[in-house]
Symmetry: D2
Subunit: 90 residues, 4 copies
């Protein structure tokens, strides 16, 4: 069973919490003008998204690079991970 | 008028697009198990959140550090910005 | 007096520590092959460079955005900062 | 042969270029006070450090997660990588 299936419950809990943060942010942007609070909310939601990414990456490493017996498949999955790091980290 | 009021329309457009990305991600996590696609979706949503943060920061700099005539207020707002950078950037 | 002059001593202490970290890293790459240790050293040096950047940014904000009485100059300095954040953060 | 041995030449080229950037930065901090230029130099050196990290990570993935036949060793190396990402990325 793939890691997303196995971790589905905790991943959904995380993504739903993020959806709530984004909804609260939309509300704050619609009605208010407290930009300090908005910046803190944005940073918190971005941090939560990063936490979700690390959790999916952990499952990815565990299933597709550690447990995967086929070297060619490991190579393809390592490339996906490296590409993601190259494009999205600084 | 504060920058969040002035930029409200484009900030709401951004945050609603992010809400859509998070909803699509929730859907992908509920029904699928394609973790490569999920990682790419997460990275895209996180990048969009970063773009929103930069846009609010730009308004913050412009209103509270450039246009603000009172030095003590500029000092307080610079502290907010620096604190955010210290805690949320790497 | 500009912030770099005022903070020169502590900024030089930081940059010399980083130079030492980079020299140790060069040494480790020349003679060894312990990649876990090398990765940790690289991450530490990168973190130290980030700390130096935040320290210079703090001086920049303080001198050129808080204490600067001329609004046009504040505008130019805010643009430098924002451009840096746009190009180098994720 | 370990990836650091195999990639030694290009890794040393990178780290020596970084050492040059850090030396130039030290020089700029010792004699000057142009903080915009200093910020750009710091950001460039930090970016070069990040590039070096990605290059070592690529070798790490390739040798210790793709080519490594022993699953327990792959597990240990995946943990090193994940720990690094957890502590040093945002």
């Amino acid at each position: 069973m793939a890691h997303i299936q196995r971790d589905r419950k905790k991943l959904l809990t995380r993504v739903r919490r993020i959806a709530g943060q984004v909804a609260a942010l939309e509300q704050a942007l619609e009605t208010g003008d407290d930009c300090d609070a908005v910046l803190v909310q944005i940073a918190a939601a971005k941090g939560a998204m990063h936490g979700l990414m690390l959790e999916v990456m952990a499952g990815h490493l565990s299933d597709h690079l550690v447990a995967e017996p086929d070297q060619a498949r490991r190579e393809a999955e390592a490339a996906v991970l490296l590409d993601l790091l190259k494009r999205h980290a600084r």
